[in-house]
Each structure stands twice: as C-alpha cells, then as structure tokens.
Symmetry: C2
Subunit: 158 residues, 2 copies
Amino acid sequence: MSTPDSTDPTALPATFADPKTLDHAGLEEGTIFAPRFDANGLVTAITQEVGTNRVLMLAHMNAEALALTLSTGVAHYFSRSRGKIWKKGESSGELQRVVEMRTDCDQDAVLLLVEQTGRGAACHTGRKSCFYRVVTDSATLRDAGDPRLFDPAEVYRG
Amino acid sequence: MSTPDSTDPTALPATFADPKTLDHAGLEEGTIFAPRFDANGLVTAITQEVGTNRVLMLAHMNAEALALTLSTGVAHYFSRSRGKIWKKGESSGELQRVVEMRTDCDQDAVLLLVEQTGRGAACHTGRKSCFYRVVTDSATLRDAGDPRLFDPAEVYRG
C-alpha cells in the first residue's frame, strides 16, 4: 500500500465496519454499513440506470473501489481480470455519476443507481447494457437488438 | 447425482455449452449460451421485477438451478449457505415467474425479469426488494421506507 495523500480525500484508506462485529439484526436492520467482502475482498455491484431502472452491468468492488465511489460520486470497480481499481469510463469516457447506492439484507452486494454519461454505453461492446442477449428456453441466445452507441475498435484502440 | 426421471423434463441433467469451446467473438456476440460458471460452479443472478424494473435480489445459480429455471419458468437458485438448490418461494409462497432471462457480454451473469407472486416480497425480511437500505456518503445506512409485505416470524416459523 502506498501512503495516502492527506490532501486528496479520495486517497484516504478505505475503512468500513467489520460485519463480524454485528449480530444478525444489526447486519440486516441496522444503520452501520459493514460490507461483507468475500474471500477475495470483493462485494458484487449491480449498476442500474436512473430513470429507466435498466440494469447496465454487474461488476465487483473491493474496499478501495467502494470508498472511492462514495467519496467521488463516480463509479469505481475492481477489475478481476486486470487485478486493479477500475474507474469506469476512464478509457471510454463513459463515466457513471452515482445518484444513489443501496446495500442488500446481508450486505454482500451493492446496487448503484447511476447517470450513464458519455454516449450512454455502459458495455465495452458499445451497447447501453451488458445484458443485450436473451436466453431462450432452448439455451440459445437471441440479440435483443440494442444498438451500438460507439464503435469499440475506435474507442479502445492502441 | 440421482438418476434423472425421464418423465419429468425438470429432472433432465443440466448441460450447457462449455465456454472454453468459444472464441472471444463467440462468447460476446454469438448465439450459443455457454455460462461461465466460477470455481464454485456458480453464475451470478440479478432478479428484476417486470414493469417497474426494480432490482429485487441478487443470488447465484449452478447449472442445475439454471436448467430448472429455464425448463420450469420459475426461478431456482443455488443457496450457498445451505449448499443446495433453492426453489425461490417454496417456503414463503413468493414464487417468481420468469418472463425473460438475459446474459451479459462475458456470460458469467444472468438477469431475470420476473413476476413476483405471493405478497410481492422477494426478500426474506418481508420487503419487496433486498435493497431496502441506502448507503450514505458517510457509510451509514438509511432505511428507504419499504413496507414489510409479510411478517417473517410468521412465514418462516418452525
């Protein structure tokens, strides 16, 4: 860990209450946010578009990503494939402004209500949502017809 | 594994395409459903209410739960705490009728659009949604005021 820069509030160490200090009622009905990070230090994050309530994407957050999201109001995740903090939209320009964050009954997931900026595409394929294919009863996939709002070859080149 | 009962389609073995047989384009743009189960054999499932698009809950599915959900049209999950298939609403009566299932770009998550039957409560606390608390900037929780649609002590008693 690098030393936090005291002039930058977003660099403060991420500290949350330890869920082990809460009883069942405290975890489910209390006012203490005590995210239940899994063995890899992650909680699941669902991101939903304000207004339409459309689910844009599913991702993960470690304590640092969660703290950065709360302190900056811009969605940060933890990229499991790259093993590092991922400020959503840093490459593509598709930042997400967080309007509200919620947690669930057992505090192992968060739900973000966001304003999707840029061209409005949360998915790296250029579509608004990562959930652009319908699973049929016969376990094949059908494209739901969501248009590409950007060309990924153009946005992620070089 | 018990022998599948050939008279019951819901008891058919759960077989899906192996994502390792697909290239990147096939996984992200193809028509073959090849769920990317994690090391524990699970994909993440987000469940959303048809009409309002409200996110009701987040859970997990193994291959059997996924196959049962597709074949019966009723949401089945895998309970990680109990280590077994969980037909949602079997105890509470709050079954979920699946209107549509989608998968995401890299096929490690599914999104269910459901009609929440019973009293309309997906959460075991009796509320419509498990996401009934808002996370504030100061990392405390505020109850969003969702009413309890059933009394959990009554529904889950002995």
